[in-house]
Symmetry: C2
Subunit: 205 residues, 2 copies
Protein backbone atom coordinates (compact mmCIF):
# COMPACT_ATOMS: atom_id res chain seq x y z
CA UNK A 1 0.00 0.00 0.00
CA UNK A 2 1.31 3.44 -0.95
CA UNK A 3 1.44 5.73 2.04
CA UNK A 4 -0.45 8.95 1.55
CA UNK A 5 1.47 11.99 2.71
CA UNK A 6 -1.50 13.78 4.14
CA UNK A 7 -0.32 14.59 7.63
CA UNK A 8 0.30 18.30 7.17
CA UNK A 9 -2.23 19.13 4.49
CA UNK A 10 -4.66 21.97 4.94
CA UNK A 11 -7.91 20.58 3.65
CA UNK A 12 -10.61 22.72 2.16
CA UNK A 13 -14.23 21.97 1.71
CA UNK A 14 -16.38 23.82 -0.80
CA UNK A 15 -16.21 24.02 -4.55
CA UNK A 16 -13.10 24.61 -6.56
CA UNK A 17 -13.83 27.57 -8.80
CA UNK A 18 -13.75 27.40 -12.55
CA UNK A 19 -11.01 30.05 -12.47
CA UNK A 20 -8.80 27.69 -10.44
CA UNK A 21 -9.28 24.94 -13.01
CA UNK A 22 -8.56 27.37 -15.86
CA UNK A 23 -5.39 28.50 -14.10
CA UNK A 24 -4.33 24.88 -13.79
CA UNK A 25 -5.06 24.28 -17.48
CA UNK A 26 -3.62 27.61 -18.63
CA UNK A 27 -6.62 28.26 -20.85
CA UNK A 28 -10.18 29.50 -20.82
CA UNK A 29 -13.09 27.12 -21.17
CA UNK A 30 -15.27 27.77 -24.19
CA UNK A 31 -17.74 26.01 -26.46
CA UNK A 32 -16.89 26.09 -30.15
CA UNK A 33 -20.09 25.17 -31.91
CA UNK A 34 -19.61 24.01 -35.50
CA UNK A 35 -22.76 24.06 -37.58
CA UNK A 36 -23.32 23.17 -41.22
CA UNK A 37 -24.53 20.59 -43.67
CA UNK A 38 -23.53 16.95 -43.58
CA UNK A 39 -20.17 16.71 -45.29
CA UNK A 40 -19.30 20.37 -44.73
CA UNK A 41 -16.25 19.45 -42.66
CA UNK A 42 -17.37 20.10 -39.08
CA UNK A 43 -15.73 17.04 -37.56
CA UNK A 44 -12.62 17.29 -39.73
CA UNK A 45 -11.97 20.88 -38.65
CA UNK A 46 -12.82 20.15 -35.01
CA UNK A 47 -10.38 17.24 -34.81
CA UNK A 48 -7.72 19.22 -36.64
CA UNK A 49 -8.08 22.03 -34.09
CA UNK A 50 -8.01 19.49 -31.25
CA UNK A 51 -4.84 17.85 -32.51
CA UNK A 52 -2.96 21.13 -32.77
CA UNK A 53 -4.15 22.48 -29.41
CA UNK A 54 -3.34 19.28 -27.52
CA UNK A 55 0.12 19.41 -29.09
CA UNK A 56 0.46 22.91 -27.64
CA UNK A 57 -0.53 21.59 -24.21
CA UNK A 58 -4.20 22.53 -24.15
CA UNK A 59 -7.05 20.27 -23.11
CA UNK A 60 -9.72 19.93 -25.79
CA UNK A 61 -12.65 17.64 -26.22
CA UNK A 62 -14.94 17.08 -29.20
CA UNK A 63 -18.59 16.08 -28.82
CA UNK A 64 -19.91 14.52 -31.99
CA UNK A 65 -22.27 11.88 -33.27
CA UNK A 66 -19.91 9.08 -32.37
CA UNK A 67 -19.79 9.78 -28.65
CA UNK A 68 -23.22 11.40 -28.18
CA UNK A 69 -25.69 9.63 -30.43
CA UNK A 70 -24.56 6.19 -29.24
CA UNK A 71 -24.43 7.21 -25.59
CA UNK A 72 -26.21 10.07 -23.87
CA UNK A 73 -28.68 10.59 -26.71
CA UNK A 74 -29.23 7.02 -27.83
CA UNK A 75 -32.83 7.24 -26.62
CA UNK A 76 -33.60 10.07 -29.05
CA UNK A 77 -34.86 9.74 -32.60
CA UNK A 78 -35.23 12.30 -35.35
CA UNK A 79 -38.65 13.83 -34.65
CA UNK A 80 -38.70 17.61 -34.27
CA UNK A 81 -38.96 17.26 -30.49
CA UNK A 82 -36.14 14.73 -30.31
CA UNK A 83 -33.89 16.86 -32.52
CA UNK A 84 -34.44 19.82 -30.22
CA UNK A 85 -33.76 17.66 -27.15
CA UNK A 86 -30.65 16.29 -28.84
CA UNK A 87 -29.20 19.78 -29.23
CA UNK A 88 -30.42 20.85 -25.79
CA UNK A 89 -28.54 18.02 -24.10
CA UNK A 90 -25.41 18.69 -26.15
CA UNK A 91 -25.56 22.32 -25.07
CA UNK A 92 -25.93 21.35 -21.42
CA UNK A 93 -23.06 18.87 -21.58
CA UNK A 94 -20.97 21.49 -23.37
CA UNK A 95 -21.72 23.90 -20.54
CA UNK A 96 -20.42 21.36 -18.00
CA UNK A 97 -17.21 20.86 -19.99
CA UNK A 98 -16.74 24.63 -20.25
CA UNK A 99 -17.22 24.90 -16.49
CA UNK A 100 -14.52 22.26 -16.15
CA UNK A 101 -12.22 24.58 -18.15
CA UNK A 102 -12.06 22.47 -21.30
CA UNK A 103 -11.89 23.92 -24.82
CA UNK A 104 -14.94 22.07 -26.04
CA UNK A 105 -16.09 21.59 -29.62
CA UNK A 106 -19.37 20.26 -30.97
CA UNK A 107 -19.73 18.88 -34.47
CA UNK A 108 -23.41 18.46 -35.28
CA UNK A 109 -25.44 19.70 -38.22
CA UNK A 110 -27.67 21.54 -35.70
CA UNK A 111 -29.82 22.95 -38.50
CA UNK A 112 -32.28 25.04 -36.47
CA UNK A 113 -31.40 28.53 -35.33
CA UNK A 114 -33.62 28.37 -32.26
CA UNK A 115 -31.88 25.25 -30.96
CA UNK A 116 -28.41 26.76 -31.41
CA UNK A 117 -29.50 30.03 -29.83
CA UNK A 118 -30.81 28.08 -26.84
CA UNK A 119 -27.37 26.48 -26.45
CA UNK A 120 -25.73 29.90 -26.73
CA UNK A 121 -28.04 31.23 -24.03
CA UNK A 122 -26.72 28.62 -21.58
CA UNK A 123 -23.28 30.21 -21.68
CA UNK A 124 -21.82 33.57 -20.80
CA UNK A 125 -21.03 36.12 -23.53
CA UNK A 126 -17.79 35.19 -25.26
CA UNK A 127 -17.90 31.54 -24.21
CA UNK A 128 -19.99 30.38 -27.16
CA UNK A 129 -18.19 30.50 -30.50
CA UNK A 130 -20.50 29.65 -33.37
CA UNK A 131 -18.64 28.51 -36.47
CA UNK A 132 -20.62 28.32 -39.68
CA UNK A 133 -19.30 25.82 -42.20
CA UNK A 134 -20.41 27.72 -45.27
CA UNK A 135 -20.03 25.08 -47.94
CA UNK A 136 -22.41 24.73 -50.91
CA UNK A 137 -24.62 21.66 -50.78
CA UNK A 138 -23.26 20.62 -54.17
CA UNK A 139 -19.79 20.35 -52.65
CA UNK A 140 -21.08 18.43 -49.62
CA UNK A 141 -23.05 16.11 -51.85
CA UNK A 142 -20.05 15.42 -54.03
CA UNK A 143 -17.99 14.54 -50.95
CA UNK A 144 -20.84 12.53 -49.32
CA UNK A 145 -18.38 10.81 -46.93
CA UNK A 146 -21.05 8.65 -45.30
CA UNK A 147 -23.17 8.03 -48.41
CA UNK A 148 -26.07 9.85 -46.76
CA UNK A 149 -26.94 12.22 -49.60
CA UNK A 150 -27.22 9.26 -51.92
CA UNK A 151 -29.64 7.58 -49.54
CA UNK A 152 -31.60 10.81 -49.03
CA UNK A 153 -31.91 11.34 -52.79
CA UNK A 154 -33.11 7.75 -53.09
CA UNK A 155 -35.76 8.43 -50.45
CA UNK A 156 -34.18 6.00 -48.01
CA UNK A 157 -33.60 8.77 -45.45
CA UNK A 158 -36.43 11.18 -44.76
CA UNK A 159 -36.02 14.68 -43.34
CA UNK A 160 -32.42 15.02 -44.42
CA UNK A 161 -31.01 18.51 -43.92
CA UNK A 162 -30.59 20.32 -47.21
CA UNK A 163 -32.66 17.79 -49.16
CA UNK A 164 -36.11 17.67 -47.57
CA UNK A 165 -35.43 19.50 -44.30
CA UNK A 166 -34.22 23.09 -43.98
CA UNK A 167 -30.83 24.33 -42.83
CA UNK A 168 -31.13 27.66 -41.06
CA UNK A 169 -27.76 29.38 -41.30
CA UNK A 170 -26.75 31.57 -38.35
CA UNK A 171 -27.20 35.25 -39.10
CA UNK A 172 -24.29 36.41 -36.96
CA UNK A 173 -21.79 33.60 -36.29
CA UNK A 174 -18.47 34.33 -34.61
CA UNK A 175 -16.65 32.66 -37.50
CA UNK A 176 -17.45 31.61 -41.04
CA UNK A 177 -15.39 28.90 -42.68
CA UNK A 178 -15.75 28.69 -46.42
CA UNK A 179 -14.38 25.20 -46.34
CA UNK A 180 -14.57 24.77 -50.05
CA UNK A 181 -12.07 27.63 -50.39
CA UNK A 182 -9.42 26.59 -47.89
CA UNK A 183 -7.74 23.47 -46.55
CA UNK A 184 -8.79 21.94 -43.22
CA UNK A 185 -5.48 23.19 -41.86
CA UNK A 186 -6.22 26.76 -42.89
CA UNK A 187 -9.71 26.50 -41.42
CA UNK A 188 -8.35 25.13 -38.14
CA UNK A 189 -5.76 27.92 -38.01
CA UNK A 190 -8.57 30.44 -38.32
CA UNK A 191 -10.36 28.93 -35.31
CA UNK A 192 -7.17 28.86 -33.26
CA UNK A 193 -6.39 32.44 -34.17
CA UNK A 194 -9.83 33.43 -32.95
CA UNK A 195 -9.18 31.73 -29.60
CA UNK A 196 -5.78 33.43 -29.33
CA UNK A 197 -7.28 36.82 -30.11
CA UNK A 198 -9.84 36.26 -27.37
CA UNK A 199 -7.14 35.40 -24.84
CA UNK A 200 -8.47 31.86 -24.37
CA UNK A 201 -5.06 30.31 -25.04
CA UNK A 202 -2.54 31.43 -22.54
CA UNK A 203 0.88 29.90 -23.11
CA UNK A 204 1.04 26.37 -21.80
CA UNK A 205 4.59 25.52 -20.81
Amino acid sequence: MTEIKATNITWHEGHVSRAEREKLLKQGGCLIWFTGLSGSGKSTIAYTVEHELVKRGHLCYVLDGDNIRHGLNKNLGFSAADRAENIRRIGEVGKLFVDCGVITMTAFISPYRADRDAARALLKPGEFVEVLMDVPIETCETRDPKGLYKKARAGEIKGFTGIDDPYEAPSNPELVIKNGECTPQEAAAKVIQYLENRGLLRAAK
Copy 2:
Protein backbone atom coordinates in the same frame (compact mmCIF):
# COMPACT_ATOMS: atom_id res chain seq x y z
CA MET B 1 -4.79 41.02 -34.45
CA THR B 2 -2.41 38.51 -32.94
CA GLU B 3 -0.42 36.74 -35.60
CA ILE B 4 -0.75 32.98 -35.45
CA LYS B 5 2.57 31.20 -35.77
CA ALA B 6 1.30 28.38 -37.89
CA THR B 7 3.61 28.51 -40.83
CA ASN B 8 5.73 25.46 -40.04
CA ILE B 9 3.20 23.35 -38.18
CA THR B 10 2.56 19.77 -39.11
CA TRP B 11 -1.18 19.43 -38.92
CA HIS B 12 -2.90 16.21 -38.08
CA GLU B 13 -6.44 15.19 -38.71
CA GLY B 14 -8.10 12.42 -36.78
CA HIS B 15 -8.93 12.03 -33.13
CA VAL B 16 -6.59 12.79 -30.28
CA SER B 17 -6.49 9.68 -28.13
CA ARG B 18 -7.54 9.60 -24.53
CA ALA B 19 -4.01 8.49 -23.66
CA GLU B 20 -2.65 11.73 -25.14
CA ARG B 21 -5.01 13.78 -22.99
CA GLU B 22 -4.09 11.76 -19.91
CA LYS B 23 -0.41 12.31 -20.61
CA LEU B 24 -1.07 16.03 -20.86
CA LEU B 25 -2.99 15.98 -17.59
CA LYS B 26 -0.59 13.60 -15.86
CA GLN B 27 -3.45 11.51 -14.53
CA GLY B 28 -5.87 8.77 -15.46
CA GLY B 29 -9.52 9.54 -16.10
CA CYS B 30 -11.92 7.77 -13.77
CA LEU B 31 -15.45 8.05 -12.43
CA ILE B 32 -15.72 8.12 -8.65
CA TRP B 33 -19.35 7.36 -7.93
CA PHE B 34 -20.46 8.35 -4.42
CA THR B 35 -23.70 6.73 -3.31
CA GLY B 36 -25.59 7.00 -0.05
CA LEU B 37 -28.49 8.59 1.78
CA SER B 38 -29.26 12.29 1.71
CA GLY B 39 -27.00 13.91 4.29
CA SER B 40 -24.44 11.08 4.24
CA GLY B 41 -21.69 13.45 3.07
CA LYS B 42 -21.35 12.60 -0.64
CA SER B 43 -20.92 16.18 -1.85
CA THR B 44 -18.80 17.20 1.11
CA ILE B 45 -16.32 14.40 0.52
CA ALA B 46 -16.34 14.89 -3.26
CA TYR B 47 -15.56 18.60 -2.97
CA THR B 48 -12.92 17.94 -0.34
CA VAL B 49 -11.22 15.46 -2.69
CA GLU B 50 -11.51 17.94 -5.56
CA HIS B 51 -9.93 20.75 -3.57
CA GLU B 52 -6.94 18.67 -2.56
CA LEU B 53 -6.39 17.17 -6.03
CA VAL B 54 -6.63 20.50 -7.83
CA LYS B 55 -4.09 21.86 -5.34
CA ARG B 56 -1.80 19.01 -6.40
CA GLY B 57 -2.29 19.96 -10.05
CA HIS B 58 -4.93 17.45 -11.08
CA LEU B 59 -8.08 18.24 -13.03
CA CYS B 60 -11.25 17.15 -11.26
CA TYR B 61 -14.89 17.81 -11.80
CA VAL B 62 -17.92 17.06 -9.64
CA LEU B 63 -21.33 16.30 -11.10
CA ASP B 64 -24.06 16.88 -8.53
CA GLY B 65 -27.62 18.05 -8.16
CA ASP B 66 -26.64 21.69 -8.56
CA ASN B 67 -25.17 21.38 -12.02
CA ILE B 68 -27.20 18.41 -13.33
CA ARG B 69 -30.74 18.71 -12.01
CA HIS B 70 -31.01 22.36 -13.06
CA GLY B 71 -29.43 21.76 -16.43
CA LEU B 72 -29.12 18.52 -18.39
CA ASN B 73 -31.78 16.74 -16.34
CA LYS B 74 -34.16 19.59 -15.66
CA ASN B 75 -36.79 17.84 -17.81
CA LEU B 76 -36.84 14.81 -15.51
CA GLY B 77 -39.05 14.29 -12.48
CA PHE B 78 -38.97 11.65 -9.76
CA SER B 79 -40.95 8.78 -11.29
CA ALA B 80 -39.18 5.43 -11.41
CA ALA B 81 -38.49 5.88 -15.13
CA ASP B 82 -37.22 9.42 -14.68
CA ARG B 83 -34.96 8.41 -11.79
CA ALA B 84 -33.43 5.69 -13.94
CA GLU B 85 -32.98 8.12 -16.84
CA ASN B 86 -31.44 10.65 -14.45
CA ILE B 87 -28.75 8.18 -13.42
CA ARG B 88 -28.31 6.91 -16.99
CA ARG B 89 -27.54 10.39 -18.28
CA ILE B 90 -25.18 11.08 -15.38
CA GLY B 91 -23.33 7.86 -16.20
CA GLU B 92 -23.08 8.80 -19.88
CA VAL B 93 -21.81 12.31 -19.07
CA GLY B 94 -19.36 10.80 -16.61
CA LYS B 95 -18.11 8.52 -19.36
CA LEU B 96 -17.44 11.54 -21.60
CA PHE B 97 -15.52 13.29 -18.83
CA VAL B 98 -13.48 10.15 -18.19
CA ASP B 99 -12.72 9.96 -21.91
CA CYS B 100 -11.53 13.55 -21.65
CA GLY B 101 -9.10 12.40 -18.94
CA VAL B 102 -10.80 14.13 -16.02
CA ILE B 103 -10.99 12.68 -12.49
CA THR B 104 -14.75 12.85 -12.31
CA MET B 105 -16.94 12.50 -9.25
CA THR B 106 -20.69 12.10 -8.97
CA ALA B 107 -22.61 12.92 -5.80
CA PHE B 108 -26.12 11.57 -6.10
CA ILE B 109 -28.12 9.33 -3.76
CA SER B 110 -28.45 6.88 -6.67
CA PRO B 111 -30.42 4.45 -4.50
CA TYR B 112 -30.98 1.60 -6.98
CA ARG B 113 -28.32 -1.02 -7.58
CA ALA B 114 -29.42 -1.68 -11.16
CA ASP B 115 -29.00 1.97 -12.13
CA ARG B 116 -25.52 2.18 -10.62
CA ASP B 117 -24.50 -1.10 -12.21
CA ALA B 118 -25.65 0.23 -15.59
CA ALA B 119 -23.37 3.24 -15.10
CA ARG B 120 -20.51 0.93 -14.13
CA ALA B 121 -21.10 -1.11 -17.28
CA LEU B 122 -20.48 1.97 -19.44
CA LEU B 123 -16.87 2.12 -18.27
CA LYS B 124 -13.87 -0.13 -18.45
CA PRO B 125 -12.81 -2.22 -15.45
CA GLY B 126 -10.97 -0.04 -12.95
CA GLU B 127 -12.43 3.22 -14.24
CA PHE B 128 -15.55 3.10 -12.08
CA VAL B 129 -14.91 3.59 -8.38
CA GLU B 130 -18.06 3.10 -6.34
CA VAL B 131 -17.87 4.73 -2.93
CA LEU B 132 -20.54 3.78 -0.41
CA MET B 133 -21.26 6.42 2.19
CA ASP B 134 -22.21 4.02 4.97
CA VAL B 135 -23.84 6.36 7.44
CA PRO B 136 -26.84 5.38 9.60
CA ILE B 137 -30.05 7.12 8.63
CA GLU B 138 -30.33 8.42 12.19
CA THR B 139 -27.09 10.36 11.69
CA CYS B 140 -28.21 11.67 8.29
CA GLU B 141 -31.56 12.68 9.69
CA THR B 142 -29.94 14.51 12.61
CA ARG B 143 -27.75 16.45 10.16
CA ASP B 144 -30.60 17.05 7.67
CA PRO B 145 -28.64 19.85 5.95
CA LYS B 146 -31.43 20.67 3.51
CA GLY B 147 -34.37 20.03 5.83
CA LEU B 148 -35.53 17.22 3.57
CA TYR B 149 -35.98 14.52 6.21
CA LYS B 150 -38.22 16.86 8.17
CA LYS B 151 -40.36 17.42 5.07
CA ALA B 152 -40.41 13.70 4.26
CA ARG B 153 -41.49 12.82 7.82
CA ALA B 154 -44.22 15.44 7.53
CA GLY B 155 -45.39 13.81 4.29
CA GLU B 156 -44.50 16.86 2.22
CA ILE B 157 -42.03 14.83 0.12
CA LYS B 158 -43.13 11.44 -1.18
CA GLY B 159 -40.80 8.63 -2.18
CA PHE B 160 -37.88 9.90 -0.10
CA THR B 161 -34.97 7.47 0.06
CA GLY B 162 -34.71 5.84 3.46
CA ILE B 163 -38.15 6.99 4.58
CA ASP B 164 -40.68 5.64 2.07
CA ASP B 165 -38.37 4.54 -0.73
CA PRO B 166 -35.62 1.94 -0.46
CA TYR B 167 -31.87 2.46 -0.54
CA GLU B 168 -30.10 -0.52 -2.08
CA ALA B 169 -26.54 -0.51 -0.79
CA PRO B 170 -23.88 -1.81 -3.18
CA SER B 171 -22.78 -5.33 -2.35
CA ASN B 172 -19.19 -4.88 -3.48
CA PRO B 173 -18.17 -1.20 -3.63
CA GLU B 174 -14.57 -0.23 -4.24
CA LEU B 175 -14.60 1.89 -1.08
CA VAL B 176 -16.74 2.20 2.02
CA ILE B 177 -16.69 5.44 3.96
CA LYS B 178 -18.15 5.22 7.43
CA ASN B 179 -18.54 8.94 7.51
CA GLY B 180 -19.94 8.94 11.00
CA GLU B 181 -16.63 7.55 12.18
CA CYS B 182 -14.14 9.86 10.46
CA THR B 183 -13.78 13.48 9.43
CA PRO B 184 -14.42 14.59 5.84
CA GLN B 185 -10.67 15.07 5.55
CA GLU B 186 -9.97 11.49 6.60
CA ALA B 187 -12.62 10.24 4.19
CA ALA B 188 -11.18 12.30 1.33
CA ALA B 189 -7.69 11.01 2.13
CA LYS B 190 -9.01 7.46 1.82
CA VAL B 191 -10.36 8.20 -1.67
CA ILE B 192 -7.12 9.87 -2.75
CA GLN B 193 -5.08 6.98 -1.40
CA TYR B 194 -7.20 4.61 -3.48
CA LEU B 195 -6.47 6.66 -6.62
CA GLU B 196 -2.76 6.70 -5.78
CA ASN B 197 -2.70 2.96 -5.24
CA ARG B 198 -4.35 2.50 -8.63
CA GLY B 199 -1.75 4.67 -10.35
CA LEU B 200 -4.34 7.22 -11.42
CA LEU B 201 -2.37 10.10 -9.93
CA ARG B 202 0.98 10.46 -11.53
CA ALA B 203 2.96 13.35 -10.06
CA ALA B 204 1.89 16.63 -11.54
CA LYS B 205 4.72 19.10 -11.48
